[in-house]
């Protein structure tokens, strides 16, 4: 509903502007009736209004503009000339259109003005013979001669006039009935909109009124001249009547036209960069003032600072639009394409409100459309094929948009055939893009990426769908042109995900300034979750090193740490100061960062301040360094590099193995080491749980465990968390110790959590790569060597399902207290 309102609002603004132009054009046209340019412009304007009103189901408006358009098209074709009457009629039409538009603006409905006569008059003017017809306006027809002339003319036009009038009347009646139906339905659908009822009544009134004009027109020709004059008046009168209505309803509400202005995007760009400079000057002023002691000046500066922030925010906003402005065109694309290719596709959208800079939206429009087309053409199979593969015949095409780590991510996910890297590889060799030898050295992921190479197209033939317009290479070029990147992940048989990641390089962003090894760096606030201060002794106590991989216990949860000085190669690995290299010998800080759904702690020497920074791009010699998103200039004029949280995480290899493997082959040099949490079950049996599957460690009193049906649950952070005793699950039989407190390892995914009850938390250890052996046992992945002991590796997924079979069903939310009843029922 809101989307429609938006479209209507846009339509109104556009139409109002166009109508103003139309007035001028029509008048100019009267002076120069043969100007094809003017005629063309007038025609286009009316045509646009007609088209849009038809689309928005404003039938009256459509009918009115339609007949106007017919008249204009005749003129444009040179079949008839513009004369005074036609101009008047057209201007009357413009007024009537205005009236209708203001009704739409006030109430969302076309109102009950009756334009039957006007439609008839315009229709009449369409007739060739009418060129010679003396004015139909009685003011001029007051002389008897003219009156007779008119009568004759009308009689001459005779039947056709009548027909036109009749047809128009019928159409109007049909329309009115339709409108009434719509209103009735609307009233049904939205009982709260009581005024709609009143509209229904008036709509009915107009239905009863409709037959009258033809009654007046149909009888003998003499009265014929009379219909035209009311044409303007009825249009005026109801408008006048209606006027107080919107006035009453929203005196204070500015009309749509007044409240929005079209601004050249170049002007906004200029404003934007000026605001950027202003922010920098503000920062410079503020840092100067910090060194002086002038309270009056400080107050003024404070105020300037506030206004600058506000201004900046507002200017930013002028350029932001929801991604939906691009997406809203896609359902149609999907519908048409799936018909054309006999696919059955359901389009889903997530994050439609995600706002993007206007220029970015403009730039992603074509790539986005292409990727959607591509997903349907090459991705999603026909229903028959899908059924054959055991898939739902209805394919799902999902669009996702979200902000993360200072980037906007747009994903196009299909559950289609996926990309066969063998086919891609062969094709690439065939096209001479790579040699066979090169191909053999490539990973399947690298091969898949070749679809973005220029000159690559897997389509067997150039189809109407994907073969035209932009190719994958153009998608890549366009996205890279705005500083973004394109990535594809594909599972053969299960679908593909294309991800566009677009950095906010144009934007001003809030950032945290940190100190490391005597230098300053900025970290975008979007990636910063929290700051942890490491005080002297705590620094040593809090950070635990496991085979060189530091971890910090943050409120019971385990946070992998990354030493910034090591990552920037300012010190050699293993010699990090641990964040203590700041001026006054204090401990350092852990900046808890978020990168691709993972948290990690960045150990830095100092946290200085937060400020708004203008992101400046780096030159080409530094483009290849993923660690930096860009640079900014601080108040003192120095250049400060902006760190990219995700790139740091990748470099330090703290993302999940999957993500790390996916990030680049660079990481392959280091042996993958998966940290595990070693726990003891009853009877001294030990089990290892992969650390990335551990969200928190908790200790709870035994008595808080409740039984629901056959399951043990505990109330945890407002949810019911099912427990599974690993000892029972794995069949570790031993002395059941009767502890008053239970140690829990909590795994959380989205809203859901599961707790594994264990005897004791032992240690965080590192699984030596290649030390894994398979054990074919329930809920175990195998055994690994930790230290000098063989430890079983828990299959967390199996264990989770043992506790909560519905855990991985995303749509089902967390078990809430309300659902407790259901659990009881299930148990009975």
């Amino acid at each position: 509903m809101e989307a429609i309102d938006e479209i209507v609002a846009e339509f109104l603004v556009e139409s109002h502007e166009n109508l103003d132009q139309l007035d001028t054009d029509l008048l100019a046209l009267e002076q120069d009736p043969t100007s094809r340019d003017l005629l063309g412009s007038v025609f286009r304007t009316i045509h646009t209004i007609k088209g849009t009103s038809g689309f928005l189901a404003f039938n009256k408006l459509e009918k009115l503009t339609h007949v106007g358009e017919n008249l204009l098209s005749r003129m444009r074709d040179g079949k008839i000339l513009l004369n005074e009457d036609r101009t008047s009629a057209l201007l009357a039409m413009v007024d009537a259109v205005r009236g209708l538009l203001s009704h739409i603006e006030a109430s969302g409905l076309e109102g009950d003005d009756d334009h039957t006569e006007l439609v008839a008059r315009l229709g009449q003017l369409l007739e060739d013979g009418a060129i010679e017809a003396p004015p139909l306006i009685p003011a001029q027809g007051s002389s008897p001669e003219a009156a007779t002339g008119a009568t004759e003319a009308v009689t001459g036009a005779g039947d056709s006039t009548e027909e036109v009038v009749h047809a128009a009347a019928q159409a109007a009646a049909a329309q009115a009935i339709e409108a009434a139906h719509e209103l009735a339905e609307a009233a049904k659908g939205h009982p709260e909109e009581i005024p709609a009822g009143a509209q229904v009544v008036s709509a009915e009134v107009s239905i009863t009124n409709v037959p009258e004009p033809p009654a007046a027109a149909a009888p003998p020709p003499p009265p014929a001249p009379t219909p035209p004059p009311p044409a303007e008046k009825p249009a005026e009168k109801p408008a006048a009547k209606a006027a107080p209505e919107p006035g009453e309803a929203g005196e204070t509400k500015r009309s749509v036209v007044e409240s929005s202005v079209r601004v050249d995007i170049g002007l906004l760009d200029t404003l934007m960069s000026m605001v950027g400079e202003l922010v920098l000057s503000r920062n410079a002023l503020v840092s100067e003032l910090d060194e002086q002691n002038d309270s009056a000046l400080a107050r003024s500066a404070q105020r300037l600072s506030l206004i600058t922030s506000e201004l900046q925010e507002q200017v930013m906003k002028t350029r932001m639009q929801p991604v939906d402005t691009v997406w809203s065109k896609l359902p149609r694309v999907v519908r048409d394409l799936s018909h054309q290719l006999s696919r059955n596709v359901r389009l889903e959208m997530e994050g439609r409100d995600t706002e993007l800079d206007r220029s970015v939206l403009e730039a992603i429009k074509d790539p986005m459309t292409h990727l959607v087309r591509n997903a349907i053409d090459h991705g999603i199979e026909t229903p028959e094929v899908r059924i054959g593969k055991g898939k739902n015949p209805e394919g799902v095409l999902m669009l996702r948009a979200y902000h993360e780590a200072g980037l906007v991510h747009l994903e196009i996910i299909d559950d289609g055939a996926g990309i066969d890297h063998n086919i891609v590889g062969n094709k690439a060799v065939e096209r001479g893009l790579v040699t066979q030898a090169q191909l053999e050295k490539m990973t399947s992921r690298e091969i898949t990426q070749m679809i973005f190479l220029p000159g690559f197209s897997t389509a067997a033939k150039v189809t109407n769908v994907s073969g035209r317009g932009v190719g994958m290479d153009v998608v890549k070029t366009r996205i890279e042109a705005i500083g973004g990147s394109v990535d594809v992940v594909s599972n053969l048989g299960a679908g593909s995900t294309f991800r566009l990641s677009i950095p906010l390089t144009l934007a001003i962003i809030p950032a945290l300034t940190i100190g490391c090894y005597g230098h300053r760096y900025a970290v975008p606030q979007v990636s910063v979750l929290e700051l942890v201060r490491l005080s002297g002794e705590h620094a040593r106590g809090g950070i635990e090193h496991i085979s060189g991989a530091p971890v910090y216990r943050l409120r019971g949860s385990l946070l992998p740490l990354v030493q910034l000085d090591e990552q920037l190669e300012l010190v050699s690995i293993g010699t990090s100061s641990g964040g203590g290299r700041n001026d006054d010998g204090r401990g350092g800080f852990i900046v808890v960062l978020q990168a691709e759904q993972h948290r990690f702690g960045l150990v830095v020497d100092d946290v200085l301040d937060t400020q708004e920074i203008v992101v400046k791009p780096l030159g080409r010699h530094l483009k290849a360094l993923p660690m930096y998103q860009g640079a900014t200039i601080h108040g003192d004029g120095s250049v400060v590099l902006i760190l990219d949280a995700t790139a740091i995480a990748r470099r330090a290899d703290v993302l999940s193995n999957q993500a790390a493997a996916a990030s680049s082959s660079v990481m392959e040099e280091t042996t993958p080491i998966d940290p595990v949490l070693v726990v003891e079950l009853s009877g001294g049996r030990r089990t290892a749980i992969p650390l990335d599957m551990v969200t928190r460690l908790e200790e709870i009193p035994n008595e808080t465990i409740e039984r629901v049906g056959g399951r043990e649950v505990v109330q945890y952070r407002g949810h019911i968390m099912p427990l599974v005793r690993l000892a029972n699950l794995l069949g570790a039989y031993g002395e059941e110790t009767d502890n008053a407190r239970v140690q829990l390892v909590v795994y959380t995914r989205g809203e859901r959590s599961v707790g594994f009850a264990v005897e004791r938390i032992m240690d965080i250890a590192t699984e030596r790569a290649g030390s894994r052996s398979d054990i074919d046992d329930h809920a175990l992945l195998g055994s690994i060597v930790v230290g000098d002991r063989v430890v079983e590796l828990l299959d967390v997924q199996a264990a989770v399902l043992a506790a909560d079979p519905a855990f991985y069903q995303d749509d089902a939310g967390a078990t809430t207290v309300q659902q407790l009843g259901d659990l009881y029922e299930e148990a009975l």
Binding site: H519, K616, H621, L625, V640
Partner: protein, 146 residues
């Protein structure tokens, strides 16, 4: 190419097309860029624009400057991107249309030679015409792979 802006690096006298040179600035503070190639000496703030400063000595494989005197930034604009070249000392603009031009002399070392368009034989000295594009086209991806 008739006029060259000249500058000294080590014992060499280099020249680049005068049209490429945007300005010469004596700078100032550098912000080091960890992980970047050795040729990148840092970032400078040129009136609100962030420029990469290229250490020409490092690029030519010369030892770092012994350093009493501050180096000079020659800001060149190549392919519409300004880059600062860090040189030892700036020379004048030399009109070279009347000066004999020859290929890269064999006396210069190979690394330097690969970045030259050729040499002008001034009465007292060789003026080496630098290929600015080649000079800036060093391995831009090194650090990504590091």
């Amino acid at each position: 190419m008739t006029q060259l802006s000249t500058f000294h690096v080590g014992s060499y006298l280099f020249g680049v097309e005068v049209a490429l040179v945007q300005e010469v600035v004596r700078m100032q503070k550098f912000t080091p860029v960890p992980l970047a190639s050795a040729e990148v000496s840092g970032l400078i703030n040129l009136r609100g624009e962030v420029l990469t400063a290229i250490d020409v000595r490092a690029r030519l494989g010369l030892p770092p400057t012994t350093g009493e005197r501050a180096q000079v930034n020659v800001v060149v604009r190549v392919d519409d991107e300004p880059v600062s070249l860090l040189v030892d000392e700036i020379g004048g603009v030399v009109e070279v249309s009347q000066i004999p031009f020859e290929g890269t002399p064999s006396t210069v070392n190979a690394r330097v030679g690969s970045l030259l368009l050729g040499a002008y034989t001034l009465p007292d000295k060789l003026l080496l015409a630098l290929d600015a594009r080649a000079l800036l086209a060093f391995d831009e991806g090194r650090s990504a792979a590091a």
